[in-house]
């Protein structure tokens, strides 16, 4: 790629008039080579040289944005695309309710907005870094393609946040944009800002659980930013949400297909007891109790991302009109919450209680509740697969107090059913509830690449529908053979 004479209006598809916005264009031009370097250093070279069947957004029109074609990832057209402006849009909540949405950053909220954008932006490259080696163990070309689609779109989401920083936050915005490429997942000196984005993604089940549970937190955060009174932010994340749906899809169907392969193998071998773990593992599939442990782990790590249950920061963000609730427009209340209450869990005298607190301070809790509901849906659909197969087993979402590092539950040990237990008891039984080293090693032992079109590793079932309606043996990635 010619980095010096990049034709920006064609290299960066955009609907923000970049070519006439010299200042931002210059800032992006300075940032772009660093981004390309980051990308090129990240993912193994033979994948960079492979042709991947990706969808690229070329316009925000519903008919123009999902163009499928073979692309080499470094040539992917990372664009800056905002959902179309809604004429006459007003601020949907808080003390500025009903006032025209801001087209520029209001001075008094500048720092708060910048911080939200930086935190959101920091997660995007973080997850690509966590997933960088997964291509080497892809269970199929189909899954490899889905991984890379997630990766390039997270990359685009970084672009989207960098654009906002460079366009609206002057010099310190540009510095924050540069820092996004300096911090690195798992680094000792400059780690990513949120803990969950410094954990490794060592295997594909972890990746699917991550996209199902952790990306869903991202989706809820984006949903609340989509309500923002700062219109450019709202428009940016509304378009990102369309792409985020693919990540949810990868997670839900990835876990679902893992479960399906286990059920099929058990039925074929005539095993009815889901706890006959050694026998089931011998079939080259992941037993359901281990999948439950993975669920427990990723679900609870993701719950921590919602922060403190009661938070004045969250109250301020809502009140100032910067961050709304999930589907704010569909909630039937005054959207100011000055006199409302909301039930929040707390711990008093060693007991888990629910108490009503001012609704404004419980914004995080409410978003987390919406998240729990949203996340339960897919778990229910996984259980339907099990019910259909005749195996007696059901996945359960652990109690929200289980295995928590942040919020009211961080001070106590809670078992998956929601009973407070002693630290000794927890330590003794932890291996029943969370994946052990041995579980991890077993899953790792199944991570063998399967690169033949239409073929899948033993532990995962083929998808029911191809991407872009392609037939089963479609070559989603044309691997570069060096």
């Amino acid at each position: 790629m010619d980095l010096i004479n990049v034709s920006y209006d064609s290299q960066i598809p955009n609907n923000v008039g970049l070519s006439s916005d010299k200042k931002v264009l210059k800032a992006l031009e300075k940032w772009h080579p660093g981004y390309i370097n980051w990308w090129n250093d990240l993912i193994p070279q033979n994948f960079q040289d492979s042709m991947v069947y990706l969808r690229t957004a070329v316009s925000v029109d519903p008919k123009g944005w999902a163009k499928f074609d073979y692309v080499k990832m470094p040539d992917y057209r990372w664009g800056i695309l905002l959902a179309p402006a809604v004429e006459g849009r007003t601020i949907p909540m808080g003390e500025h309710l009903g006032e025209p949405a801001w087209q520029e950053v209001p001075g008094e909220y500048r720092n708060m907005l910048k911080r939200l954008i930086v935190i959101q932006g920091d997660t995007e490259p973080g997850s690509v870094e966590q997933q960088r080696f997964l291509g080497l163990t892809a269970p199929s070309l189909y899954d490899m393609r889905n991984l890379f689609q997630v990766n390039v779109e997270e990359g685009r989401h970084l672009w989207a946040m960098v654009y906002l920083l460079q366009k609206y936050f002057g010099k310190d915005g540009r510095e924050e944009a540069d820092d996004m490429l300096v911090r690195s997942s798992g680094s000792d000196d400059s780690p990513r800002m949120l803990g969950a984005f410094n954990e490794e993604t060592p295997d594909w089940l972890s990746f699917f659980m991550f996209t199902y549970f952790t990306d869903r937190d991202g989706k809820m955060q984006l949903e609340s930013l989509a309500q923002s009174g700062f219109d450019p932010l709202s428009r940016t994340v509304r378009f990102m949400l369309t792409e985020e749906a693919h990540h949810m899809f990868v997670g839900e169907t990835g876990v679902g297909r893992t479960i399906q392969a286990t059920l099929d193998a058990m039925n074929k071998a005539g095993i009815t007891d889901p706890y006959d773990i050694a026998k089931i593992r011998d079939l080259g599939v992941i037993d359901l109790p281990t999948i439950q442990k993975k669920l427990n782990l990723h679900y609870t790590l993701s719950l921590d991302l919602f922060g403190q249950e009661v938070s004045t920061n969250a109250a301020n963000a809502f009140n100032y009109g910067i961050k709304g609730r999930y589907m704010e427009q569909r909630i039937d209340d005054d959207h100011k919450l000055q006199n409302d209450t909301y039930p929040v869990t707390s711990i008093k005298d060693g007991k888990i209680l629910t108490e009503d607190v001012p609704a404004l301070t419980a914004i995080n809790m409410r978003l987390r509740d919406d998240y729990v509901r949203d996340a339960s849906g897919g778990v229910g659909r996984w259980n339907k697969l099990i019910a259909k197969s005749g195996v007696q087993f059901e996945f359960k979402m652990p109690h929200e107090g289980f295995h928590r590092q942040i919020g009211v539950f961080s001070s106590v040990a809670v078992d998956p059913d929601g009973a407070i237990v002693s630290a000794e008891e927890w330590a003794k039984r932890q291996d029943e509830w969370l994946p052990t080293k041995e579980d991890g090693a077993f899953i790792q032992s199944l991570m063998k690449p399967c690169y033949e079109p239409g073929k899948y590793a033993t532990w995962i079932a083929p998808p029911k529908v191809g991407i872009d309606n392609k037939p089963g043996d479609f070559e989603y990635v044309k691997l570069h053979m060096a």
């Binding site: 123009g64 163009k67 749906a245």
Partner: protein
């Protein structure tokens, strides 16, 4: 509703309840409860905005029904109902689609069966613009391609789409709506023309496309187009065509056979390959027929493309001092390469031009196949089913 009609449904076994379709629907025809996301048939106007945003493919489900499934019925589904035994009636709104479908059916008729796109072709966008909602383009250029003293007037027309999304792939066609009304006082229907530029624009990175149009005496649309001047506005429909497309596979071997303005799609395909994989040699061959070099569109630029990148054979039927030659003669001259292509699982054949060329090409390919110990109709059917034999004649 007494007439059978197509109802839009969502497959509850595939859907992940991300509600992206619901957010995208401009008229709130999509709703959900705790179980399912469903389309309300009373509201849906089939604008298709929800189709491409769905990450799962669950949204592209249709059933022909006499009475629509209600929202409540759909909320209760765990799987889609089977299609009932009903024949769909065509209503007035679909007339235009039917006309286009018929045109393509006629154009592809001689291929011996239903056309299929190459497996690795990019996914085409079709029917984005129609008579009710046409796209407006402005003319960027209109150049005569044939010699001034040739009596055939073939034009290269460049249309600028401005900021309008109009994604086309090489081999697709667009409709041009000539202004005015026909003898019965009805507005003219669009005429179809193959796009002759590659997908990323006549000029790379620009939102423009080119057409190759021959002036037909008395032709309403061709005269309208050939007389256009820079800056004029043109109403477009389309894009159309979902099978006559280029494989993305660099290993594909492609034989293109054309006469006259049938060269349009091959110009686009060749340019696309030049831009995307300029170093892949010995993969493209072109057999091009015209009356004489003066009548052959793009003769000058074509000659400049290196033979290693694009092998070229020209057949001239009215050149002084030389015997008449047609494309089939050129195919026979190079029978060995053609036979090798017929046997190659990565071999593709494209034919585009006047109906009159069909018989000659078909005979030549049959003869070449026979000498190589193959049965042409079998080879043709296999290739067509594989998306490797494409014929478009008019």
């Amino acid at each position: 509703m007494n007439q059978p009609f197509k109802q839009h449904l969502i497959d509850p076994e595939i859907c992940i309840r991300c509600y992206t379709c619901e957010m995208t629907c401009p008229i709130e025809a999509i709703v959900h409860n705790d179980d399912n996301v469903v389309v309300n048939a009373d509201i849906c106007n089939m604008c298709m905005d929800c189709i491409s945003v769905c990450p799962t493919g669950s949204i592209d489900e249709w059933r022909v029904v006499n009475t629509a499934y209600t929202v409540e019925e759909q909320f209760g589904w765990e799987e889609l109902p089977d299609q009932q035994d009903i024949v769909a009636a065509t209503d007035g709104d679909n007339d235009q689609d039917d006309v286009i479908t018929q045109l393509f059916a006629q154009a592809h008729a001689a291929a011996g069966g239903k056309a299929k796109a190459p497996a690795t072709a990019a996914k085409p966008t079709i029917n984005m613009y129609n008579l009710g909602k046409p796209a407006t383009a402005s003319v960027q250029g209109n150049y005569r391609l044939t010699d001034g003293d040739s009596d055939s007037d073939v034009r290269h027309i460049i249309l600028d789409l401005g900021s309008l999304p109009f994604p086309v792939l090489e081999g697709q066609s667009v409709g041009i709506i000539p202004p005015g009304v026909d003898g019965d006082g009805n507005p003219h229907l669009p005429r179809l023309y193959s796009v002759s530029s590659p997908r990323d624009g006549e000029r790379a990175g620009f939102n423009n496309l080119s057409l190759t149009v021959k002036r037909d005496e008395g032709g309403v649309c061709s005269n309208f187009i050939c007389d256009l001047s820079k800056g004029d506005s043109v109403q477009l429909t389309g894009p159309f065509g979902a099978t006559f497309l280029l494989p993305s596979d660099p290993a594909a071997h492609i034989l293109m056979i054309c006469t006259g303005t049938g060269s349009a799609p091959f110009r686009g395909m060749t340019m696309h390959r030049q831009r995307e994989m300029p170093s892949v040699n010995d993969a493209l061959s072109l057999v091009f027929g015209a009356r004489s070099p003066r009548d052959l569109p793009y003769f000058g630029p074509l000659k400049k493309v290196p033979d290693a990148f694009l092998k070229k054979a020209f057949a001239f039927s009215r050149q002084n001092d030389t015997p008449k030659q047609y494309v089939q003669d050129k195919l026979r001259e190079d029978a060995d390469s053609v036979a090798a292509l017929l046997k190659d699982p990565n071999g593709y054949i494209y034919v585009c031009g006047l109906k009159a060329m069909e018989v000659g090409v078909e005979e030549a390919l049959s003869d070449i196949a026979r000498s190589a110990g193959l049965e042409w109709t079998e080879v043709r059917d296999t290739m067509r089913e594989d998306g490797r034999y494409h014929l478009e004649t008019y």
